[in-house]
Every structure is written in C-alpha cells, then in structure tokens.
C-alpha cells in the first residue's frame, strides 16, 4: 500500500498529472502551439493510482515535508533499529527485563552490584585518567603543531603531508608500532643503551602492559594529534594573520596575541574535536585491552570481560556497566558543550 504511493509521488515529481513533456507532442501539436495540450489525457500513472490519491490527501504527499521524511526514512530506520534498538535491548538486559525469555520484573540489583564494587571506581578513575590525559595533551600539542605548520617554509607541504599520515591508519597498527618502540627491549630501550644510559633491558621503565598505560596514551596521541591539528590548521589558514597584526600594532605581545586573538577563534573547533576524541577514547577498548594490565583496566575492557565470561550471570552486569559508561559519556559531553557555549558567549 505504501509503495505505490511512493512510486506515484516520485513519478509526479517529474510530470504533474494532466501535462505532457515536450517529447510527447506530435509535430502538428507543436505547430498548433501549446494551447491544444490543455485538453490532453492525464498521465497514465495518475489514473492508475487515483484511488490512493483520494484516500490520502494528494497535496500532502506531494508536499516538501513528505519528501523530506521519505528521504530520511531509510537512514533513520537503520539507526533506530540497530543503534537505538541495541541501546534499549542492552538496557532491558541490564535490568533483567527480557519479556521474550520470560523475565518480566525489572530489577536494579546489577547496577547496585557494580556501583558498590570498589573495583568499578578503580576502573572509572583509570578510564577518566586515560581519556582526559590523551584528549588534553592532544589538544595542546595539536595547537603547537598547527602553529608550526601554518607558515610556509622549505618542505612545509611535505611535512604537512607526513603529519596527516596517522589519520587513516587503524588504531591497531599504531598499537603494534608502539609495542615495537616501547617494550623493555624495544627501539627506545636500544637507543638508551647505545647512549650509555642503561645496561640491561629491565632498567628501561615499564611503558607497555603497565598500570598507567603510557603506551595506550601514546597510541591515542599519535592518532588524534593530527586529527585535531588539521582542524586547527584549517581554522588558522581561514582566519589569516590580520587580527594578530592589528593586535600587534595595538601593543599586544606574543602571548597576548595567542591568548586573546587566536585561542577564541580556535575554541569552537578545538572543543568539537576534543569532544569527539574524548568520547572515542572513553568508550574504546581494543588498545587498553592490548597494551594495559589485566587488572585494573578501563571500564569498557571490564565490561567486555564480563560479557564474554563463561558465567552467564555476568552478562547483565556487563550491560549495566555499558549503560553506566554511556551515561557518563553523555553527562561529560553535555558539560563540555555547556562550557563551550559559555566561552562563545564571552567571546
């Protein structure tokens, strides 16, 4: 029932009922002029689907808003079914509420279980520490690199190209590279040995599979500095140097020019990319799983371990942890957005 209407609407975008295109006209008709077309038979499709048109307001179907929602429909269907569906089924499982297998009384006990577990807070602190350190360091270093690359110098195009290199590289590849550099017998340890700073590999600090996940943070930095940096660089090139020159003639020193001229201009892009990076790092788990300790590790790793545990009772708890992660991400993003709005108003 729905499909013919769509087809009908689509057909009449090209040819409203009662009209014919120039190609349909015969030579005599063309010679007589356009007036004679007025009485021509309505287009076939209009007749065929006439009943539907009567039932559903035809004008409504031809209206722009109907076409808008028709074009959005497939994408919204996928996202509602897979994404919203996934979140809600997960929420149901975390509450022990799954009518399809006969669990019909929701309970909050899995939430209570994880929220009263000290391990949860150890994980939470570790997750926050990794996400915040990576995001803030990446933002600062990205600004530094963008300031370095905004001016033309010999080879600046090649350097900018190399700077983009990590952008399309999968995180796992970056992790594999960091392992080669940072283990106690890795390239950095060998360089330190060469420089005479250490004799044995075990004198090199533990940077991989360690509690503070130095390698994890370095992987994120390697990946995200170019991402933020390119956005900052694009803003810098778009703005030009006029504002700074004006500030300079007004007597602003280097730091003042950066703090009061450049930074406010960069803030919107910085906050958006910062939010994207933070949300990604907070919720991703492949890299901490690879480069971190078994315990304690970040929340997503803990949730995943609980999910694949042979003890199926752990599953609702992993779902509950997933929901808690989601809520924390959303709350922190909201705070960041509010913060950025305040900054924009002040600017």
């Amino acid at each position: 029932m729905f499909l013919p209407i769509c087809v009908n609407v689509w057909l009449h975008r090209s040819r409203p009922p009662g009209t014919r295109s120039l190609a349909d006209l015969s030579a005599p008709e063309l010679a007589e002029g356009v007036e004679s077309v007025e009485g021509a038979e309505p287009h076939v499709e209009a007749v065929k689907f006439a009943p539907f048109v009567k039932i559903f307001d035809y004008q409504m179907l031809r209206s722009e808003s109907f076409r808008i929602w028709l074009m959005l429909a497939p994408a919204l269907a996928i996202i509602v079914l897979l994404f919203v569906g996934g979140v809600f089924v997960g929420l149901g499982q975390s509450l022990d509420y799954m009518p399809i297998i006969g669990l019909e009384t929701p309970t909050a006990r899995h939430y209570l279980n994880i929220l009263t577990d000290p391990d949860f807070y150890t994980s939470l602190v570790l997750t926050l520490y990794i996400a915040l350190t990576s995001t803030l360091l990446a933002m600062v270093l990205a600004i530094a690199v963008a300031l370095l690359l905004r001016r033309h110098f010999t080879g600046s195009r090649i350097v900018t190209f190399i700077f983009q290199l990590p952008l399309p590289v999968p995180h796992l590849v970056a992790a594999a590279g960091m392992v080669l550099l940072l283990t106690q017998s890795g390239l950095l340890a060998r360089l330190a040995h060469q420089a005479g700073w250490l004799e044995q590999p075990n004198q090199f600090p533990v940077l991989v599979f360690d509690r503070w996940q130095v390698a994890t943070i370095l992987v994120y930095l390697w990946k995200e500095i170019p991402f933020i940096g390119l956005v900052v660089l694009a803003t810098l090139k778009g703005v030009g140097q006029e504002y700074e020159e004006i500030a300079q003639t007004l007597g602003a020193n280097r730091w003042q020019r950066f703090r009061y001229v450049l930074l406010p201009l960069l803030m919107p892009g910085l906050i958006t990319t910062g939010i994207i990076v933070f949300a990604y790092v907070f919720g991703s788990f492949e890299i901490p799983l690879l480069l971190g300790q078994r315990y304690p590790n970040v929340l997503p790793v803990t949730a995943y371990r609980a999910y694949i545990d042979p003890d199926l009772n752990q599953r609702p708890e992993s779902m509950a942890m997933g929901m808690v992660i989601t809520v924390i991400v959303i709350v922190l993003l909201n705070l960041a957005l509010r913060f950025s709005r305040r900054i924009r108003q002040e600017g």
Binding site: P168, V169, G177, A279, S284
Partner: protein
C-alpha cells in the same frame, strides 16, 4: 635561533609520526634482531612467507575485510545520500532531533550497542553471518558518511538541477548528469573514509561474526598481544596499505578548505 627551534620541532614531528611505521617495515624483514642491536643482525622474509601461506588465513581475511568494507560503503551511499541531502539543504521541523539521532552513534561507545543487540542478532540468525557483520559496521559508518556528505550538500547550489529539470530532464538523468558530477569530489572522500571505518573495525566483527567471519584485524590482534613482532609488523603493513593509498589519493582534498574536514568543525 628561531630557525633552529623550528628545525628541531619539525624533526621531532617527522620522527614521531614515522618511527612507529618505519620500525614495523624493518621488523617485518628482520630474521633475527636482539637487544641491544639497533639494526637486525640477520635479514629474512620468514614473516612474509608465513603471511603468504594458506595456514595464516591472511588471504581469506584480506578478501573478507575488503568485501565487508565495500558492501558497507555501498549501503551507506544508498541509505545515507538522500538523508545527507535533506540535512544539508533543507530546514524542517524536527531537524535538530534528526541530526542528534544520526550523530549519537558517533558518541555512544559501539561496544555498548553491539553487546545489547547481539542477542537480537542471534535470535534473527544474523549472528555469525556476513550480513550481520555488515549491519553492525553500519552503526559507526552510516552516521559518519551522512555527516560528511551533509556538509558537502550544505555548500551545494540546486540551481543547475532546476535548470536541467526545466529543460525536461527526468530526476534520474538530473542526478546522473548534474548532481553526481558536482558532489563527486566530496562523495569520493566520504566513501573512502567510510571504507576505512569498516576496514578498522575489530570488536564488532569479533562479537557479531563470532569467529566465522575472519577479518584482517582479527589476524593482527593476537600477534600484537603475543608480542610476535615480525608477524605483527608484516600483517600491520598489509592492513595499513589501503589507508596509505587513500591518504595519497585524498591528501589534496583533505587540506585546509576540504568539506570532509569542515564537517568536523561544525558538528
């Protein structure tokens, strides 16, 4: 002094970016390379020979990864292009909600979503199948594609389409001869990067594919965690190859004024 400072900063930058990749190139050809040598004591192609042998499953995984990513890109284009056009060109009631809904999957951890949906996939026989994996790859890929394309459409003028239609072109011809050529550069970038989103997926493939659908990151992961350096390096280089190719293809459009980068500043 200033020149010296810039020179050293640029050097640190280049070394920092290239070192993790270059050391993998060297490791993949290292026969034996023990502490504290800075250079392999012996060169060899053992890792590469292992990669080429059928027992490594690299060939199958490469094929699966490519097929998965291409299917995901195809679906993202078909499903996402109309939505991106509407979001880029039209203002309508509820637009803010739609934008919010479409970008939400980029912020909510994919792991949480797929842990929830796994049970439904098992119930409807989508778990452990190629199509099931394609569907979960769409969760991060589709929003990404729509976001990039909607910013392409935001800078798109519909006048030429209207002219074509006035001259009697049907919607299909208008799309093929007017719309497609105009959006082509942006569309290429969006497709290539959507390809990479699917190409880099690890946990979605593991959970929903259930080990039946083996992709390249699933070969790489165990090598890294077992610190099997030479093999990990070789698989990494295979895994990275399309990424580098795509970067070279798009580096011109990726620069300062690109739509793809611009979309990020405007989220």
């Amino acid at each position: 002094m200033n020149r010296f400072l810039r020179g050293s900063a640029v050097t640190i930058l280049i070394v920092g970016v290239l070192l993790p990749i270059l050391s993998q190139v060297i490791w993949s050809f290292a026969g034996s390379w023990f502490f504290p040598a800075l250079w392999p004591q012996q060169w060899g192609v053992k890792a590469w020979r292992y990669l080429l042998s059928p027992s490594s499953q690299v060939g199958v995984a490469l094929w699966n990864s490519a097929l998965l990513a291409c299917t995901v890109v195809g679906l993202a284009v078909i499903i996402g292009l109309p939505a991106a056009r509407v979001l880029g060109l039209h203002h309508f009631r509820g637009k803010q909600w739609v934008t919010w809904l479409i970008t939400a999957p980029l912020f909510v951890p994919t792991l949480v979503v797929i842990m929830g949906i796994h049970i439904l996939f098992i119930r409807y026989n989508l778990a452990d199948t190629f199509m099931g994996v394609v569907l979960v790859h769409l969760i991060p890929a589709l929003p990404y594609f729509i976001l990039v394309m909607s910013s392409v459409f935001a800078n798109y003028a519909t006048e030429f389409e209207e002219t074509a239609r006035t001259l009697g072109a049907d919607p299909l011809r208008t799309f093929w001869y007017i719309t497609l050529p105009t959006i082509f550069p942006g569309l290429t970038v969006a497709m290539l990067f959507t390809f990479l989103v699917s190409w880099s997926q690890y946990i979605t493939t593991v959970l929903i594919g259930g080990g039946r659908v083996v992709s390249l990151p699933m070969i790489l992961f165990p090598f890294i965690s077992a610190t099997s350096h030479a093999n990990a390096a070789a698989v990494s280089l295979v895994f990275i190859f399309p990424a580098i190719l795509i970067l070279i293809l798009t580096s011109r459009t990726l620069g300062a004024s690109s739509d793809a980068m611009g979309s990020i500043g405007r989220v």
